[in-house]
């Protein structure tokens, strides 16, 4: 079943020394890339080539390399996490590309995601949004209550878990023409608002998280739906609608 072969590709990669310096697109040729390798392995191969020729390797984010941590990013040929939907960049394979292809690789672009170096961006704005309300306050008295003692309707639990699948990668922001973070925040708000444990703080949570989101400089959603298409975890626009409802309830 293996149809692996080797391809030669042209790369156009955003290089930027540090947060202060101006960056630009640099062209590279990379030969003999196995179509069985992952996209990040292809970048490893490029970096090896660069190091061997005494050049600075391309900095890019990655960690788990199995689609669960949300660390990898990259805007590949005009799409966050590349041409496939429902996958992260680490789950993208070179068999999706053809011999002779030119591949643009750029960092996720947002005012709230400043470039640290090359393709690495600082996504701590997401952490600050999360810290503003993405939690449930409990006393850690040691008397842990059995989770199943609070009944949760199956439907709500399912929706909450689906929202909780968000890995905070930022692809939604990167692919949104408005640089809006509403899919991420919608998912985080929904995940808690749907459960009885989260309902208690629902009003302050949505207000604080939305305020933080606005302060970070993310754009305003105009419902283009690009985020939903590009989200590797299939987070639905319904979560943004739920956040809008929660916000209205909290503000009235």
């Amino acid at each position: 079943m293996s149809t692996a072969k080797n391809i030669n590709i042209n790369l156009k990669i955003w290089r930027q020394k540090n947060a202060k310096e101006k960056g630009g697109i640099v062209d590279y040729k990379l030969d003999n890339v196995s179509t069985a390798s992952s996209f990040l392995e292809m970048l490893d191969q490029l970096n090896e080539q660069l190091i061997n020729s005494k050049q600075e390797p391309v900095a890019f984010d990655h960690d788990c390399r199995e689609g669960i941590c949300g660390m990898c990013s990259l805007y590949i040929n005009g799409r966050a996490h590349g041409p496939e939907t429902g996958t992260t960049t680490c789950q993208l394979h070179m068999r999706k590309f053809k011999d002779g292809d030119t591949i643009y690789i750029e960092p996720f672009r947002s005012k709230a995601f400043p470039v640290v170096k090359d393709l690495v961006v600082d996504r701590s704005s997401f952490d600050r949004i999360q810290q503003a309300g993405g939690f449930v306050s409990v006393n850690t008295s040691g008397n842990t209550i059995d989770a199943n003692s609070i009944p949760v309707p199956k439907d709500d639990a399912d929706k909450s878990f689906m929202a909780a699948a968000c890995i905070g990668c930022g692809a939604c922001v990167a692919s949104c023409k408005n640089g809006s973070a509403m899919l991420f925040v919608g998912a985080k708000v929904s995940q808690y608002a749907l459960l009885p444990q989260g309902k208690v703080e629902a009003a302050t949570r949505v207000q604080n998280m939305v305020r933080q989101m606005d302060e970070e400089g993310f754009g305003n959603c105009t419902n283009t739906g690009a985020c939903e298409v590009e989200c590797p975890k299939g987070i639905s626009l319904e979560n943004i609608a739920r956040m809008n409802r929660e916000f209205l309830k909290a503000s009235l």
Binding site: K12, W14, I25, Y75, N77, G78, R79, P83, Y104, E106, R109, S110, K111, A112, S175, K177, N178, G179, S180, M182, Q207, V210, R211, M213, D214, G217, F218, G219, N220, C221, T222, N223, T224, G225, A226, V229, E230, L237, E238, I240, A241, R242, M243, N244, R245, E246, F247, L248, A250, S251, L252
Partner: protein
């Protein structure tokens, strides 16, 4: 916090966009119903009566002020959103592939809205402002045969009040001699003048002798049949309706999402209705000038 958040936050701006946008959709439906009367042949009297009703009825006045405010608020909020959104990505991408994940309409709401705004302004200058403020607005009239067999013109008035005299100058206005004749014929009993564009009043006692209709029907027909510019006006109108259609193709269902209404129960129906609305309403609007222009 709650109050200011309802004006300033990103989500609040969406509520206002959605509420004003949906209200404008209602306005469109009402406006369309009125305009469609232009398709009925020889419908001048009905149309002018309707136009008078729309400019004077107090309930309609309230609605029209709400419409003005909605357009202003929607446009200002829309520009603000677009400006802020442009700032949210100071450095753009070298390579983009926007059609892979979103529709043309959804990405061009500001441009489409601006075209609609320009249309609304010119439309108001051409029709609304004339109806409201133009002192030389023609009064509705009909042609009759005088006893001499010559064609003469009679003004058409409200509540069948008949204009007894058949005199107008070439521009369709009452001539100076007409007023002087009456004054001498009645030995100064009737000293008439035109007030508020449509009323003919006796200066002596303030009695309203006659009240005519402003001829919006004629104005509209003449506008789209203008020998020089009629075709351009017609094409411009049709193009603006295309922009409106695309604006609503995304906008209608988008408003419900903004207001927090999204679920498997209603969303498919809302989307279907929104698409139908965005095709049918601009299409019907556009047929009217086309019909007027090409049936001259």
């Amino acid at each position: 916090m709650a109050k200011s958040a309802l004006l300033k936050s990103s989500i609040a701006k969406k509520y206002w966009m959605a509420l004003t946008g949906l209200f404008l959709c209602l306005f469109l439906a009402g406006h369309l119903a009125g305009n469609l009367q232009l398709l009925v042949p020889n419908n001048a009297l009905n149309f002018n009566q309707y136009a008078l009703f729309m400019t004077t009825n107090p309930a309609v006045k309230i609605l029209s002020y709400l419409t003005y405010i909605s357009i202003l608020f929607h446009a200002i909020d829309g520009f603000l959103l677009t400006y802020q959104n442009a700032k949210a990505r100071p450095i753009g991408y070298a390579k983009t592939n926007p059609s892979a994940n979103s529709s043309f309409s959804s990405r061009n709401m500001a441009v489409l809205g601006t075209i609609v705004l320009i249309f609304i302004v010119t439309h108001m200058v051409n029709f609304w402002a004339k109806m409201h403020y133009d002192k030389n607005m023609p009064l509705a009239q009909k042609e009759t045969l005088a006893q001499t067999g010559k064609k003469q013109i009679q003004l058409v008035g409200i509540k069948d009040s008949q204009m007894p005299f058949f005199q107008l100058d070439e521009s369709g206005k009452l001539s100076k001699e007409f007023f002087e004749n009456i004054k001498t014929q009645t030995q100064g009993q009737y000293d008439l003048e035109i007030q508020d564009v449509t009323k003919i009043v006796n200066k002596k006692d303030g009695e309203v002798i006659f009240q005519g209709y402003k001829d919006l029907y004629k104005l509209t027909i003449d506008f789209f049949r203008d020998a020089k510019y009629g075709l351009i006006f017609t094409i411009g109108y049709v193009l603006a309706m295309f922009a409106l259609g695309f604006h609503l193709w995304h906008g209608f269902s988008s408003a419900f999402q903004s207001l927090g209404l999204n679920g498997p129960k209603y969303t498919p129906a809302i989307k279907f209705f929104g698409k139908a609305f965005s095709v049918v309403v601009p299409l019907l609007f556009a047929i009217i000038p086309l019909y007027i222009h090409f049936t001259k």
